[in-house]
Symmetry: C2
Subunit: 389 residues, 2 copies
């Protein structure tokens, strides 16, 4: 059974320590050892490794000795192995059979509530001061997390060329850090949408505390209900939850609210080519999420008459961001255990370590796409302005 | 008949001066007047305006008084009008019925010969000193053409991060200016492919004259015959001629010759969404050419295991490049007339003016796409290095 498992993951450098003292591994020096306490656990793992590794690790049934981050990296690398193609087809089918509620107006609310309403206090333990829960941008390798988050916000503002007095719409504003940054540093008005009640409440308090509640309006509503006319459109970390089938609709919404000379930016986790979301992540962490390929993203722009001006893939910045989050998370693990329980501590650790591995191995990408109406000739001629000190 | 024509082009601000002295126009001040000498010309124009305007203008049957560039711009703008959707469907069908030889190994040679082997002397009249026949890059609006062509080459070299001693493969090298620039300014070896006999002969002479024939090898062969292992792949202005059906094959070629940590760049005319090539251009100027949408371009990268790192759309730089070419061309119109004839002078003027209009109106895009193998972690973290003085 273990042989089949090894084969399915391209013979990764991993060791299994079984209940009877037996050790099973490949010739390569293992990066970690998985302790399997009994036959039932082994059977569960082998029957459906994608789903059960997460379940068994979270339950504390499987213990990992060694480098959890590296372990997940070698599993990702092995799973990308050509031998897995036939398994991928089965998985695709299985994904559809197990799929979660869709991203209708109601489905989206449920999906978003599942993840983002775990409690602002929980997220504040490891996201840093900005509470920005998206990929940061590290101008230098030494930039600390909070500064890198602010650098990301500045990068986004420059990409849409904000000017004082403009009115910006933000779709999916998280805890409001970007909206507040835009108002504070670029003198713009912002209308920011989010369907997470807890995040919106937090963002409104922040706006009041910073005296920015006259410049920034936080609206608890779906992006599909955006109305009005804006100088710029930004969306950082929402597209993952939109659903590919809704991309032409999103494009239509943007078209209807973005002025002819306005610039738009979508920042999203993506893929090199379409794959279903990892089933365990879909079940336990991010129901309904699906990072698109660039090809899929074009469905937003093509029919709505937009021109793609700039795409930047900052995948390795997300690996670095997750390094930080995971480290801060481990520093707060006792607090997390008190808020939830030990199973949650492990589950969330696996999610952070696994996400980091997805970016270091090239399983996931981070795209920032800048676009504008196809007839707009007041677009920036070069991108040099993004890199001025 | 003219009413139907006006309607089909969204009632453009154009005036018709008919043989009997009659003038037909819309209320808007016309940008140009088309002189129609007889009823037969009018019938030909109205029956198939896309094809016949080019034919009749080249033959000197239709004369244009006023701004030819603006005339084509307003026709493009009008043709993008929603009322034209039903006509577009017919045109798509018509395109297939009239389609040119395909881009097989032999078909490509014929197509490329048609355009690029018109004579190096002809192209040297208006391309400037670099003989670069692709979009230039203007760091400032005042940069002159030759400098802007060199700036484009430097931009490309920086995007693939050339280092001395590396070996670069170039697919579709034109008259060799980029290959020679890379060797001269970045100390790399270059193997450059092209199936245009005249261009290759010219490029080889240039290499010898510059003493670079030991660093740059010009190969008269198809990109499909590229073999070897290279540190970087560049292709500037070839993809337009590859044909969408050959994109996965191109990706496979690149995958097989690009080292795991190598960077690749494709520079190509593109579109916001797929459309057949303008029929007159396909017939008279560029047989077999077809600028892809970004979505279509993904067929190169997705299956070959590449990650798209950077996309830059420099459409307005091509409008500026064409401004220069057209101006230089008009300065040499008497020489062109001697080389060919007056019909050719008009045909080529229409092509240059029309291409410029395609870029100013957003009908065409210019994409530079940087990519690398999906597991390469030695990719540039930021693009700041592109903009250092």
């Amino acid at each position: 059974m273990l042989q089949a498992l090894f084969h399915a993951f391209g013979d990764p450098p991993v060791e299994f320590a079984l209940w009877n003292g037996e050790r099973v591994r490949t010739d390569t020096e293992p990066v970690a050892t998985m302790h399997i306490p009994d036959r039932a656990t082994l059977v569960r793992l082998c029957r459906d490794p994608d789903m059960q590794f997460g379940e068994l690790y979270s339950d504390g049934k499987i213990q990992v000795e060694g480098d959890l981050g590296r372990l997940i990296e070698v599993l990702y690398q092995g799973a990308a192995h050509p031998g897995r193609n036939s398994i991928s087809a089965l998985r695709k089918l299985s994904h559809w059979l197990h799929r979660r509620p869709n991203n209708s107006l109601l489905g989206s609310r449920e999906n978003i509530h599942h993840h983002y309403d775990l409690g602002n206090q929980f997220y504040s333990l490891w996201l840093g001061d900005t509470m920005a829960y998206t990929c940061a941008y590290f101008p230098t390798p030494e930039t600390p997390l909070d500064q890198a988050q602010l650098a990301k916000m500045e990068h986004v503002c420059r990409k849409v060329q904000l000017r004082p007095g403009q009115h910006v719409v933000e779709a999916g504003c998280g805890w409001g850090s970007l909206a507040l940054y835009m108002a504070r540093h670029h003198g713009v008005k912002v209308t920011a949408f989010n369907i997470s009640r807890e995040q919106i409440a937090f963002a409104r308090e922040r706006a009041k505390a910073e005296g920015l509640d006259h410049s920034v309006e936080f609206v608890e509503d779906d992006y599909r209900n955006i109305r009005g006319s804006f100088d710029a459109f930004v969306s950082v970390g929402m597209l993952e939850h939109v659903g590919v089938e809704n991309y032409p609709g999103l494009g239509e919404i943007i078209r209807s609210c973005l002025q002819p000379e306005g610039l738009g930016l979508i920042h999203t986790i993506g893929r090199n080519y379409w794959k279903p979301m990892h089933r365990w992540i879909d079940r336990r962490i991010f129901p309904g999420a699906n990072p698109p390929s660039l090809k899929q993203m074009m469905d937003i722009f093509e029919q709505a008459g937009f021109s793609v001006l700039d795409v930047e893939n900052i995948r390795l910045h997300y690996a670095k961001t997750l390094d930080w989050w995971w480290q801060l998370y481990e520093q707060s693990r006792d607090k997390v255990a008190k808020m939830f329980d030990e199973n949650f501590v492990r589950m969330w650790r696996l999610y952070l370590a696994g996400s980091r591995a997805a970016f270091t191995t090239g399983e996931m990408q981070l795209f920032q796409v800048v676009f504008s109406g196809s007839t707009n000739n007041r677009i920036p001629m070069t991108r040099e302005h993004l890199y001025r000190p």
